[in-house]
């Protein structure tokens, strides 16, 4: 196995008396697409800022491309592409100019930057907007421009902090497609998300993070295998009847989660469990059999939903 491009061990970040990251360990292999999945406030962004060699760690070890960010921040950052949670494009500049000034930060020659800027605008599907003001772009376009900007230095590692949060479904799919292409080209991706489908689509391997700690680690499929059943039966009896119904269906399926609005029954055969429920004389208002997702893994691990 090739040497990892990122190694973190017992990584901790504290702000005054608040612990954002409470000792986490992980490695990222070159070319891998690695995800940090967790709810808001889990410490994902803080971890990303430490990997980005911007935020200094409180304790623990961190090595990026074999270098310590405390000593080699600028050197490490020269090899990274960063897509922060909140876009920080320069609103006073036009679309293409944003790429030109950013490329200069890496000390790249102007001709090379100009060439790359045009390629990246093409890649980000923004070629026809290159003279537009950043403010005039839609949210999805700004996001794609931020990604294009992050690629101006041909980074070894691309860091994406909640790349599609706040985007509409269509914009998300365009973005996923672009990110998937990068992954196919062998760019190492590290991303945080609280969207299951995003993690399942983009990550080879991920860690589930909650309250600054890693709860589980593995590929999306293996996590689902390990922490959930193949299928999930979702039944709704109406908000005030769910818990009462839960008592009556106890024993059906491998495990039951009672949520305020529905019951989740974990099983390898959802339809069969639904039949059992009907035989008990219970008639859910709605029922749905679906495959297990990372949402179920998270619920199992923390007892909470990801998006609350």
């Amino acid at each position: 196995m090739p040497a990892p491009v990122i190694t973190a061990s017992s990584l901790v970040k504290k702000y005054d008396d608040f612990t954002a990251v409470a000792g986490i360990d992980f490695d990222v292999a070159p070319g891998e697409s690695f995800g940090l999945l967790g709810p808001n406030g889990a410490g994902k962004s803080t971890t990303m800022r430490m990997i980005g060699a911007v935020s200094t760690r409180t304790s623990g070890e961190l090595s990026i491309l074999g270098l310590d960010p405390n000593l080699h921040g600028p050197d490490i950052r020269s090899q990274l592409g960063v897509v922060p949670q909140q876009d920080n494009l320069d609103l006073d500049l036009r679309v293409r100019d944003n790429l030109l000034v950013y490329g200069r930060y890496f000390g790249l020659p102007r001709t090379q930057i100009a060439e790359r800027a045009d390629e990246l605008l093409e890649f980000a599907q923004l070629s026809d907007r290159k003279a537009a003001k950043v403010d005039e772009l839609s949210g999805g376009m700004k996001r794609r421009l931020t990604i294009a900007r992050a690629l101006i230095n041909d980074p070894r590692i691309l860091l994406l902090d909640e790349p599609t949060t706040g985007l509409d479904p269509q914009a998300r799919h365009i973005l996923w497609d672009r990110l998937f292409r990068l992954k196919e080209r062998g760019t190492t991706l590290v991303l945080t998300t609280h969207y299951m489908d995003e993690a399942e689509q983009l990550c080879d391997r991920l860690v589930v993070v909650d309250k600054g700690q890693i709860m589980a680690e593995g590929s999306p499929a293996s996590l689902i295998r390990e922490y959930s059943s193949r299928e999930v039966l979702e039944v709704r009896f109406g908000s005030d009847k769910n818990s009462e119904a839960a008592e009556r269906v106890a024993g059906i399926g491998e495990r039951i989660e009672v949520l305020p609005d529905r019951l989740l029954i974990y099983s390898n055969n959802g339809e069969a469990e639904l039949e059992k429920i009907t035989k008990l004389g219970l008639h859910p208002i709605t029922s749905l059999v679906r495959r297990s997702s990372l949402e179920d893994v998270f619920l199992r691990l923390t007892g909470r939903s990801l998006i609350e």
Partner: protein, 284 residues
């Protein structure tokens, strides 16, 4: 906080190739980072260049007519042996520098963290916090030099500079402006929320300084208990030096040293404290 180079950085293998590439790529930004920031700001200036040029030209003309021609007619005997126009011209030049400083170091600094958070973008690249500050300040100094030079040309056109040494009022004004700008940025860089604090700075800092720094009348005209406003004001120190250059205003040599020393010290301290604040905020 540990600060040791991890084993893998010293070991051979593919890791080491990555590290070598990173160290090589870090050289240019470490050296020229501040200049890249200047480039960025100049490009952003294009958006408002025409209005900047217009105010650079319009302001001095208005002020020189109002004060040098209008108000001067009420002071026919002049002040300290020179005409009122000659007396007020170096002060106006320093005040013009101060205005550029205030424009560039108040809202734009808060904006860089908050409304148009370009500082965070810069810091995600190889650029470091102190380089961001140096670059921004260098750009402001350039912009200020341009504005002051235009102002000086207008002053010359009004025939308000008796001495050939008058040209020195340009660097003096820039030094004064930068001292004031760095004083303001030391504060504005700490602002996480802008709830009118900057307007207060303008009202209770900028305006009194503008009026009570021996700008429009000699500081000695003020009652003694108000004169300390002038002594602490960087503008007064700059104006005194400007008058020395413009018409040989009588100042004791030790006082010249005090004026220069005061302004230079503020620049150095302001640069240090702004850099520290910005670096810490970005590393949080």
């Amino acid at each position: 906080m540990t600060a040791t180079v991890p084993e893998s950085a010293r070991a051979s293998g593919p890791d080491n190739e990555d590290a070598r590439r990173a160290l090589a790529a870090g050289v240019a930004p470490r050296r020229y980072g501040a200049l890249y920031i200047v480039e960025h700001r100049i490009r952003a200036l294009r958006g408002y260049a025409s209005s900047a040029i217009l105010t650079s030209l319009g302001n001095p003309i208005v002020y020189l007519f109002a004060l040098g021609v209008g108000l001067a007619s009420l002071v026919p005997e002049g002040i300290g042996g020179v005409s009122y126009l000659e007396f007020v011209a170096p002060a106006l030049l320093c005040a013009a520098a101060m205005t550029v400083a205030a424009n560039e170091t108040t809202y734009p600094i808060v904006a860089g963290f908050k409304w148009n958070p370009i500082f965070h973008g810069m810091n995600a690249s190889p650029i470091q916090g102190n380089q961001i500050v140096q670059g921004i300040m260098l750009f402001i100094a350039l912009r200020m030099t341009f504005a002051v030079a235009v102002y000086y040309a207008v002053i010359l056109a009004f025939g308000a500079v008796p001495s050939v040494w008058g040209i020195l009022t340009v660097p003096i004004a820039v030094l004064t402006g930068m001292a004031i700008g760095l004083l303001i940025s030391s504060y504005s860089a700490t602002l996480k929320d802008e709830r009118g604090q900057l307007a207060m700075v303008m009202r209770f800092g900028f305006t009194p300084m503008f009026l009570f720094s021996g700008t429009f009348f000699p500081l000695e005209q003020l009652p003694i208990y108000l004169q300390p406003i002038g002594w602490v004001s960087p503008l007064w120190h700059g104006v005194e030096l400007g008058r020395l250059a413009a018409y040989g205003h009588d100042i004791a040599p030790w006082l010249i040293a005090v004026h220069i020393g005061y302004l230079v010290s503020i620049v150095v301290i302001g640069l240090w404290s702004t850099s520290r604040t910005v670096t810490r905020r970005l590393a949080g």
